[in-house]
Subunit: 357 residues, 2 copies
Amino acid sequence: MVDVSNMPPLDDRKHKILMLLIQNYLETGEPVGSRTLSKLLTDNLSSATIRNEMADLEEMGYLTSPHTSAGRIPTDMGYRFYVNEIMNEHDKKIESMEEFVIEKTEKMEKVLQQVVKTLAVNTNYATMITTPSTNKNRVKFIQLSLFEECKLVALIVMDGNIVKNKVIELNEGIDQETILKLNLLLNTTLNGLSKEEINLGVIARMKEQSEGYQEIVNNVLDAIAEAFTEDEDLEVYTSGATNLIKYPELADKDNAEKLLLAFEDKSELREFLEEAKEDVSEDGIRVYIGDESNVSSMQDCSVVTATYDLGNGMSGHIGIVGPKRMDYKSVLESLKNIKEQLDSTFKGEKRIEKKKN
Amino acid sequence: MVDVSNMPPLDDRKHKILMLLIQNYLETGEPVGSRTLSKLLTDNLSSATIRNEMADLEEMGYLTSPHTSAGRIPTDMGYRFYVNEIMNEHDKKIESMEEFVIEKTEKMEKVLQQVVKTLAVNTNYATMITTPSTNKNRVKFIQLSLFEECKLVALIVMDGNIVKNKVIELNEGIDQETILKLNLLLNTTLNGLSKEEINLGVIARMKEQSEGYQEIVNNVLDAIAEAFTEDEDLEVYTSGATNLIKYPELADKDNAEKLLLAFEDKSELREFLEEAKEDVSEDGIRVYIGDESNVSSMQDCSVVTATYDLGNGMSGHIGIVGPKRMDYKSVLESLKNIKEQLDSTFKGEKRIEKKKN
DNA sequence: ATTAGCACTCAAACTTTAGGAGTGCTAACA
DNA sequence: TGTTAGCACTCCTAAAGTTTGAGTGCTAAT
């Protein structure tokens, strides 16, 4: 892990050389030598001079060389320096990306899958996104209906118009009047309550009043509980995992397998994104280099995350995973871009449907 | 593609040698030489004799050799012979597989994911499964409820107790009586009808009677249409795609990428499974060797598919993808096993819930 | 402080070599 | 006539050696 507090300051020339070297490395993927830099640099410095500077930068911990006679590549600290640097460049105009169009779709699920796919195709990295989650969810409306002899369906509408339903099988018939009474009871008791507010007291009182239909009440409570928890364990959609094996430094058999496995299983990703939610910067974008992500399979990767916000208290996380030498600039831009798109896609839509049961 | 009608008949000895050779190749993954077979064979035949037989088998098209001085490996026709052969061995006792336990879960989606995962872990191949689909679906029950000023939710129960709901936003308020009337209208008109039976005539008649609430009727019809079609484009769940790159013959960069891509994208898989549905054998299990599957990325793979049946007219497809030298015997057993498990898992449950909206 | 020059290092690519597994063919045998 | 031993031959594989070129560190001159 890079200790940011321990990054020696650089004079102008070193700064320039370091940035140029990293940029070049990001483009080529090859270690960068002194001659290359000397040619690239506007101030006419000889390769020998650059060599000296590079030796210094190596000593300071910004650079390293894969072996004696190769050029230099950035260390994690080098990357960190670079990323900090470009994050400071105040948002330049966002160039319109090629076809970053998200079709309006009915289903949240589909939209998210489209988003990750678009991102993956455009960036050539692996991408992931969580379903949005609300923090404070309340019950809004409950309705029981008999749709067949001995078969009830419970319909529950939650805050944010998330709809949940559950089929309840009865042992014996039930008349419409009873259903009406139960509906009234359920609605008057539960509407407007949050998860925390539906406590034992409330439940007991309700059961008392439900005379002989506790079974139904139990079922409804189950469904509500499910709706609450379902909302908590966020789904993660991914795309472009295979992009990663295009990058030689990630493609070695062992590593590639672990990476792809992580993207198949997703539980590690979910954990990571859940944690990432907590340490967001002001603009919601954050870069994790190497082991900063704390995901072992991604030791050799960098991850860029962003939050997206749907306005009505719902928000989720997007992440882009690539090699450490990923094109940070364009990734940052893409993320900002997609954030905006997501916002505007849902801003017009008052209704958000969510996949359920 | 193997032309089954063109497979020369084999005498006993050739038959024995071919089967033994393939079996050995499945185990080791290495080309099999004449000496190996000579030692393995119970009848004491010299390697020279075996060599002659092998030359014959090669000429017939059952075998091939990767290069002059390697042993022999089966051609696709060889595999086909082997598979046909072992499919004929009447169901031997199915050994209880290690932990083939599917926890009962509420959600179909979760169950299917568990199934593919279990299969993948147990077989070490890649697996896929489609959501079950019904052919003849009918509307069973419709209910409109007002849950908020100007917000209706339409609840639609289909055959097989598939529940669908749709939120409808109104421009102006609506009174309970009108809702009752609409409910009555919708139910009397649509209940019991199939997709085909809801035609223009029915729709027109209903709209006529709905006086000024055509918008709501339209919305309900939309939701019904969605429920019908949704059922048609089956979802595909996969697991263990990364298992495939463990097999050297599939792991070469190019091929591996295509394969993994196919498993990420899934549309090719969906197509394949949809087609597979149509040419099932009596026990519902079928083996596709190499290009028999007609999926280009799986040219070097074999696919074993099975149908599973949920009883109430709903059925889906499972597939296992591995190298051509996959352990056909155990895969066939696993599939039979899982089929049974799926059946019994749902047999007890009268209610099948399905992911919707 | 900068630079030219030079000896040195090392990975990558290519070549060479040796070894071994397996074949096809022939001739001998039961 | 089917089977087998023997042998020359092929071709893959792995190991060892060779070449090349990019790049470095150091030193001495400017």
